[in-house]
């Protein structure tokens, strides 16, 4: 990696459902090429933060900058252009169950590129090969395993060669081996595509194996406790809760 170059900047973000504040005063920067982990206990608003970052929810205050441009201040057209640079995988894969894997991956290509059907067909096969699903083009999502569904979701997310990849709990519900393979795949994708990765997870193994930047959200104080490299937070965080979370110790009063 060259010198750190900010890619996503979250500035003074406050998230709320109506009058119920989920998290307030979030401030952090994700650099280009980072694998950024959003972590924290259950119900602290990790997924909500991710949904704010992908523009599904409007923040109660603050803004999020992509490559220096504010998503919140952009008009609809500009937002669409920004969104096209993102690839998102959802917790359950988010695949369209009425379409085959090939149709799922082809959909964004048909929507947003001028390519002809034959080229799209080749691209789809290539994307599926990248996630280790070569030959599964004609399968429906319900006919493959959960791990394969997640990888197929990843194939759809990278269909348009995104600059930023968002993952919501990529390894939830996967066995340790599958989730390690998925981690490796994410790492490969980041290296090969040069993409920035933002993921929500509380799999410690994943956090340490691939994360190089992270933010820790606390449900009680409703704000971030610490942010930075998880390896550093493990030993050097000023907050005991963060160290306990990362070392998986219950401590007192937990």
């Amino acid at each position: 990696m060259d010198a750190a170059q900010p890619h996503i900047e979250v500035r003074g973000l406050t998230m709320a459902y109506g009058s119920r504040v989920i998290q307030k005063d979030l401030d952090f920067t994700v650099n280009r090429g980072d694998i950024f982990v959003i972590m924290g206990g259950s119900g602290c608003g990790k997924s909500t933060l991710l949904k704010h970052m992908i523009g599904l929810y409007e923040p109660a205050a603050g803004e999020i900058l992509y490559g220096g441009a504010s998503f919140q201040r952009a008009d609809d057209e500009e937002r669409d252009r920004m969104r096209r640079g993102w690839g998102i995988t959802y917790q359950g894969g988010g695949l369209f169950s009425a379409m085959t894997l090939a149709e799922n991956v082809a959909l964004p290509l048909q929507q947003y590129t001028p390519l002809d059907a034959a080229t799209i067909g080749e691209l789809v096969s290539y994307k599926l090969a990248l996630v280790g699903l070569a030959g599964f083009e004609e399968y429906y999502p319900s006919e493959i395993s959960g791990g394969m569904q997640k990888r197929a979701g990843l194939a759809r997310a990278i269909a348009l060669d995104p600059e930023i990849l968002f993952f919501d709990e990529p390894s939830a519900g996967l066995d340790p081996i599958s989730s390690r393979l998925l981690d490796e795949l994410i790492l490969h994708m980041r290296d090969a595509l040069g993409a920035t990765v933002v993921m929500v997870t509380h799999e410690l193994a994943s956090i340490f194996a691939i994360g190089n930047n992270s933010v820790f959200l606390d449900a009680e104080t409703r704000t971030m406790l610490d942010y930075g490299d998880p390896q550093r937070l493990l030993t050097g965080s000023d907050h005991e809760l963060v160290r306990r979370f990362l070392s998986r110790s219950a401590g007192e009063g937990a």
């Binding site: 169950s97 001028p114 080229t119 080749e122 691209l123 290539y126 090969a129 399968y139 090969a192 040069g194």
Partner: protein, 381 residues
Amino acid sequence: MSPAPAADPNPARCAIEARAGGSTLVLSGDWTVARGAPRAADVLPQLRAQPVRELGFDCSALGSWDSLLVMLLLGIEEECARAGIRFDTANLPEGALRLMALARAVRPEQHARPARAPWWRRLLTGEPLLRAWGELLGALAFLGELLIALGKLCLGRANTRARDFLWFVQQAGPAAIGIVTLISVLVGMILAYLGSVQLRQFGAQIYVADLVGIGMVREMAALMTGVIMAGRTGAAYAAQLGTMQTREEIDAIRTLGMSPMEFLVLPRLLALVLVMPLLTLYSGVLGMCGGALVATGMDVSWTQYLHETRLAVNLTHISTGLAKSVVFGLLIALAGCRAGIQCGRSSEAVGKATTRAVVTAIVALIVADAAFNIVYQRLGI
């Protein structure tokens, strides 16, 4: 991934040049999905036309690139491997090489899906018949389990909760009053219009009251309420139970030692069977009001209409309608609950179960209604 695309179009090009030490594929321009680029199929004929022993690359004029370039390289590499050409990757972008390695990591094997036999063979082997038979057995088993649950309920040993029952009564009854009101008044008016046009020719408009009264009470009240309940409550039952099935709630009920029949199906079924006759009565009365609205616009006074209705509608008519409504309620609840309990474990299965519940219920309603009318006709009631 790569530098921002140039503002002016910089089309992707590739050409094979013979250079010292072998052939070189010169790549230039922006190879992005957003603009399109040559494909392997366009380049391969060139490659085959020349006696190439070794293929190198020149990417000095290559602008931004994405998957399209990697795809081309993979295609060419495959061809080179087949034709025995040395594939020199020295000058290729490092990122592209990494992606190629990743794509090659898992060899495509054909994961053939189990082919379905052609329709005529399935027909010959009696597959539809077997399926229908299985369906029938399943329905009978469901009914049997239901009867056992009912028996236990009568003995006071079922784990059906009164609270659930009352909740479903509230959901099926009072919550449906609005739509039943609207539909009943309109159906009454439709019947009245239909009849008055014909009866007026004989100066017999007053008999609109008979037509609407008997038509509503014997037939339309039960049928329309049934259709509304099938769409509203039957579909809701299928969706509720189907969702519970996908979220493993029904498994949890079983493993807690409770019977889903007693715990889930019975309160729903009993609620609907209780509510249907009440709604049918209500619907009949409102239908007559709708009829009266039309009739009073056609030289029939309110009192005349009321008097004629009282002469025409007797207890036999009312009880025939109520008998139907009880059976309809039973059929709707059965169709809804069975579709829900049988539901698969995916989200699309819930949609299918709901559709199935409504279609089954409406078909069953009409068939049962026809059967009732034949029986009534034979019995002369």
